[in-house]
C-alpha cells in the first residue's frame, strides 16, 4: 500500500527532474549519473595517458643513442617506474571502468549503476590518488624509482616519496574495489527482464568476471604495500632476511596480485572486441558460450601462474615445473577466443570503419604478444628472456596494440552514441594508420634487443644495441605525436558533426540495447525497463 504510493510519488518526481543535470563545477563534483561518471573516468584516463606517455618519451629520448645525454640515472628510474604506475592504474584501468560505467547500464537495460553515490566516490578517489603520486615526484629524494613492481629491499631506499606512493596505491586500490562491487551488484540485480546471464553482451560478461578478479586481488596488493610501509616505518621485517623475513615473499604476494591484474586489464578489452567484430562483420559472435567459458577459464587460471614472473628467483624444481605448465595451459582458452573472433569474420560481410580497424589490429598484434608470452612460459628459455627487452616487448604488445587499441576501438564505436555526432572518419583513419605503424616500429625491435642481451630498466647501453634502440625511439615519438590526433578528433566530435542515428552503425541492428536509445543517449535512459526476448 505504501509501496504503491512511493512508486507513484517517484514517477511524478521523474517528470520534475527532467530539467536536466546541475550546472557548472558542482555537476561534476556531485553527479551520480553513470554517463557523467563514465565521461569523467574517460577524460581522466586520457589525461593520464598523455602524462604517462610523456614519461615514456623521456625514457625513449635518453635511449635514442648510447651514452647519457639527458637525465640522471636515478631520475630515469623514476620515469620508468611512474610511467608504468600511471599507465596501468591511471590510464588503462580507469578507461575500462569509464567504458563500463557508460555502457553496462545501457547494455543491460538498467537506469543507472546500483550504487550511484559509491560510483562518484570511486572516481574522485582516483583523482586524489594520482595527485599524490604526481606530487611524490617533487619531494626530496625524487619519485619512486624501484620499478612499478616496488620490490624490497630496493624500494625501502626510496626517499620522502615512499609514503605518498603507498598511500596513492591504497586510494587507487580502494577505488577499484568499490567500482568492482558496484559493477557486480549492478549486473546481478538490475538486468532487464528476459536478460538471462547467457544473453548478456560479452562486454558485460567480461566486466563481470573482471570485477570478481579485482575484489580477489586488489586487497592482496594493498596487503603487500602495507607490509612495505610497516617494514619501512615500524621496524617489521616481513621482507628483510636480517630480521627473519624474506624479500621473495613480497614477490610472491605481489605477483599473486600482479598476474590477475594483467587479465583485469585485458578482459574488458576482449569484451570490447567481441562487441565490435560481430557488428562490422554483420554476423553474430561465433561461439558465444565458448567465449564466456574461455573468459572464465582465463580468469581462474590467472590465479595459478604468478611465479612465471619469478623463474630466476631460486624456486625449487617442482615449483618451476608447475608454473611453467600452468602458464602454457593459459594459451588454450586465449587461443579459443582468437579463433572465435576469426570465425566470426569468416563468411561475414565486412566493412572497415575505425572501430573495426582498431579491433582487427588488436586481433593481429595481441596475438603476436600472446606468442612471445608463450615463449616466455618455457622456463629454461625464460632464463635468457627474463628482465630483458624481450619481456618489455611482450607486455607492451599485449597492452598497447592490445588493451589500448581495444579501448580506442571502443571509443570510436560508442562515441557517436555518447555525443550524438559522427566524428571525422578521414582523420580517424589517419589516426589509426599512424598508430598501427608506429606502434610496431616502436615495440617490434625490442624483441631483437632482448634476444641480443639488452637488460631492461637501464638508461644507457652497450653500442651493439644502438641501432634497434634508435628505431624504437623514432617509433615512440611517432606514436606519441599520433595520439594528439585522437584528442583532436574527440573534441571536434563533442562539439559537432553529422547527426548520429539511434543504431549509428549499419551492422548494429539487433546488436545490443545501447542501439535502441537515441544518440546522444538521454541523461536518464531505461527509467522503464525494456523487455528482452
Amino acid at each position: 500500500m505504501s509501496a504503491t504510493k512511493t512508486h507513484g510519488h517517484a514517477a511524478a518526481h521523474d517528470h520534475h527532474d527532467d530539467h536536466g543535470p546541475a550546472k557548472g563545477m558542482m555537476r561534476w563534483l556531485t553527479t551520480t549519473n553513470h554517463k557523467d561518471i563514465g565521461t569523467m573516468y574517460l577524460i581522466f584516463s586520457l589525461v593520464m595517458f598523455f602524462i604517462g606517455g610523456a614519461m615514456a618519451l623521456v625514457v625513449r629520448a635518453e635511449l635514442f643513442m648510447p651514452g647519457m645525454q639527458l637525465v640522471d640515472p636515478g631520475f630515469y628510474n623514476t620515469m620508468t617506474t611512474v610511467h608504468a604506475l600511471i599507465m596501468v592504474f591511471g590510464a588503462i584501468m580507469p578507461a575500462t571502468v569509464g567504458l563500463a560505467n557508460w555502457m553496462i547500464p545501457l547494455q543491460i537495460g538498467a537506469p543507472d549503476m546500483a550504487l550511484p553515490r559509491l560510483n562518484n566516490f570511486s572516481f574522485w578517489l582516483l583523482v586524489a590518488a594520482f595527485s599524490l603520486l604526481i606530487l611524490s615526484l617533487f619531494v626530496p629524494g625524487g619519485g619512486p624509482a624501484a620499478g612499478w613492481t616496488l620490490y624490497p629491499p630496493l624500494v625501502l631506499q626510496t626517499g620522502d616519496a615512499f609514503p605518498l606512493a603507498i598511500f596513492a596505491i591504497h586510494l587507487a586500490g580502494a577505488s577499484s574495489i568499490m567500482g568492482a562491487i558496484n559493477i557486480i551488484v549492478t549486473i546481478m540485480n538490475l538486468r532487464a527482464p528476459g536478460m538471462s546471464l547467457m544473453k548478456m553482451p560479452l562486454f558485460v560478461w567480461t566486466w563481470l568476471i573482471t570485477a570478481y578478479l579485482l575484489i580477489a586481488v586488489m586487497p592482496v596488493f594493498a596487503g603487500a604495500v602495507t607490509m612495505l610501509l610497516t617494514d619501512h616505518f615500524f621496524h617489521t621485517t616481513f621482507f628483510a632476511a636480517a630480521g627473519g623475513g624474506d624479500p621473495v615473499l613480497y614477490q610472491h604476494i605481489f605477483w599473486f596480485f600482479g598476474h590477475p591484474e594483467v587479465y583485469i586489464m585485458i578482459l574488458p578489452a576482449f569484451g570490447i572486441v567481441s562487441e565490435i567484430i560481430p557488428t562490422f562483420s554483420r554476423k553474430k559472435l561465433f561461439g558465444y558460450d565458448a567465449m564466456v567459458y574461455a573468459t572464465a577459464s582465463i580468469a581462474f587460471l590467472s590465479f595459478i601462474v604468478w611465479a612465471h614472473h619469478m623463474f630466476t628467483v631460486g624456486m625449487p624444481l617442482a615449483g618451476e615445473m608447475f608454473f611453467m605448465l600452468s602458464t602454457m595451459l593459459i594459451a588454450v582458452p586465449t587461443g579459443v577466443k582468437v579463433f572465435n573472433w576469426t570465425a566470426t569474420m569468416w563468411r561475414g560481410s565486412l566493412t572497415f570503419e575505425p572501430p573495426m580497424l582498431f579491433a582487427l589490429a588488436f586481433l593481429f598484434l595481441f596475438t603476436i604478444g600472446g606468442f612471445s608470452g608463450l615463449m616466455m612460459g618455457i622456463a629454461p628459455a625464460d632464463f635468457q628472456y627474463h628482465d630483458t627487452y624481450f619481456i618489455v616487448a611482450h607486455f607492451h604488445y599485449v597492452l598497447v596494440p592490445g588493451a589500448v587499441f581495444a579501448i580506442m576501438a571502443g571509443v570510436y564505436y560508442w562515441l557517436p552514441k555518447w555525443t550524438g555526432h559522427m566524428y571525422d572518419m578521414k582523420l580517424a583513419n589517419i589516426h589509426f594508420w599512424l598508430s598501427a605503424i608506429s606502434v610496431n616500429v616502436l615495440f617490434f625491435p625490442q624483441h631483437f634487443l632482448g634476444l641480443a642481451g639488452m637488460p631492461r630498466r637501464i638508461p644507457d647501453y652497450s653500442t651493439q644495441f644502438a641501432d634497434w634502440n634508435m628505431v624504437s625511439s623514432i617509433g615512440a615519438f611517432g606514436f606519441g605525436l599520433s595520439q594528439l590526433l585522437f584528442v583532436y578528433i574527440i573534441i571536434k566530435c563533442a562539439r559537432g558533426g553529422a547527426r548520429a542515428s539511434e543504431h549509428v552503425w549499419d551492422g548494429a541492428y539487433n546488436h545490443g540495447l545501447e542501439w535502441t536509445v537515441p544518440s546522444p543517449a538521454p541523461y536518464h535512459t531505461f527509467d522503464e525497463a525494456p523487455v528482452v526476448k
Binding site: A3, H7, A10, A11, H13, D14, D17, A110, P111, D112, A114, L115, P116, L118, I177, A180, I181, N182, I184, V185, M188, N189, L190, I215, A216, M218, P219, V220, A222, G223, A224, T226, M227, T236, T237, F238, G243, G244, G245, D246, L249, I253, H524, D527, E528, A529
Partner: protein, 42 residues
C-alpha cells in the same frame, strides 16, 4: 531518480551483496598480512 523504480527487495539484495563483497575484500587484505606475519615467524 534511477532508484525510484527499484523494489525494496532489490535494494536489500544490492546492499547485502555489496557489504558481503566489501567484507571479502577486507578479509583477503587481512589474510595476506597474516600470511606475512606467519612466514616471518617461521
Amino acid at each position: 531518480m534511477a532508484q525510484g523504480n527499484q523494489s525494496a527487495e532489490q535494494r536489500r539484495r544490492i546492499r547485502r551483496t555489496a557489504i558481503l563483497l566489501g567484507v571479502v575484500a577486507l578479509l583477503i587484505y587481512a589474510a595476506f598480512i597474516a600470511s606475512g606475519m606467519l612466514k616471518a615467524q617461521a
